[in-house]
Symmetry: C2
DNA sequence: AAATGACCGAATAACGATTTTGGTCATCTG
DNA sequence: CAGATGACCAAAATCGTTATTCGGTCATTT
């Protein structure tokens, strides 16, 4: 049945977390799903938090591979940035566990979910920061502070994709790409 | 003591709301502070919500006068926009009642506070939208959708002023003005 | 006619009883 | 005898009930 007990536990925990969220999954539940006694879990993981941290790390690794795959060398930076954000949002929607955590954070404010999301966001942010730093070095972008730029870029994207939809018809992908180009790249000023 | 009972009630309610927030102010409390019996309040206001709505309307009027004062004709749009947002943020900080409501909305999620803040934000948003629409007509700004532009402008500003400070040293006014000019007006693209 | 405050029902808080949950450990087993 | 087990524990969450508070009313007073 289980060549590897530890993996069975992790798998069960992932499944339970995706189904019931952090608050909703108990160690007994995980043990049952993994066909393992509760005590056994503590042979591999120090605590519920620890088990969760390991799973979040897994998720971060998955995300990182998505990020690396989504930027193709040779493309203009703005295309890469758009791809990255688009893929991140898709990852958020399709990855059941992440989607559940995102939901739990907003609905229940669970601290653990909060930390996990922040961890993920930090990864995305620093990835974008690196991308921007490279672009500046290659004269594809005006000289700028990469940290602030990455931060503003993410806020801008989230504003367009999520926050606009709270009170208006959602903008489609093409529109978002266009707006991003219009406001963030070209700027609003009359070019003299 | 009170030439005008209604005004005494409104004043007391304002004071109580600023001190204890919406949830924290009771009609008994307001009555006591206004030196008036509770029943009297209902001669002028249909409900606690109604009393609150009147006070919020007062606040909106105050804000509108601030908004109108903060844009001086003849200035470039971007300067006006910066002034407007700067004044709005100052208004938020200095106006005890508004600051309290803002806090209550974030901490307790009180519905009434939520609605009030949204009402205020809508006013600012539509004011900025008008400003932008004028600027476009006067060829001071590229042709653009004023609604989306106003929306993005506000998000951008809030990102710089509040959200950046959550995890970094706050940016000073001059820096914000500069960043706004750099990102929003000129754009990040290499001008060819 | 207008002000008052005792009064009402509904909503909220306070409280203790009960259950659940993360974590342990003496015992069992392969 | 390493490692798996599940009864067990203290702390925390949940639940049901009681007590209090609050928005709003209205008979009475001024």
């Amino acid at each position: 049945m289980d060549g590897n007990r530890q993996q069975a536990i992790v798998d069960a925990a992932k499944k339970s977390l995706a189904l019931f969220g952090y608050k909703g999954t108990t160690m007994d539940q995980v043990a049952k799903m993994a066909n393992v006694s509760k005590g056994s879990i503590y042979n591999f993981f120090a605590s519920k938090e620890d088990l969760f941290a390991v799973i979040v790390e897994d998720m971060v690794r998955e995300l990182e591979s998505v990020l690396h795959a989504s930027v193709q060398n040779g493309q203009p930076v703005f295309t890469s940035l758009h791809h990255v954000m688009s893929d991140v949002l898709q990852f958020r929607q399709e990855h059941e566990l992440l989607a559940k955590l995102y939901h739990e954070m907003h609905e229940l404010g669970t601290a653990a979910a909060n930390d996990a999301i922040r961890h993920i966001d930090d990864k995305v942010l620093s990835f974008i920061e690196r991308l921007i730093r490279q672009a500046v070095q290659q004269d594809q972008l005006k000289p700028c502070d990469p940290e602030i730029t990455a931060f503003l870029f993410m806020r801008f994207y989230i504003a367009l994709v999520s926050e606009w939809s709270e009170r208006h018809e959602p903008l489609d992908n093409e529109m978002i790409s266009h707006l991003f180009q219009f406001y963030f790249v070209q700027g609003l000023g009359i070019s003299s």
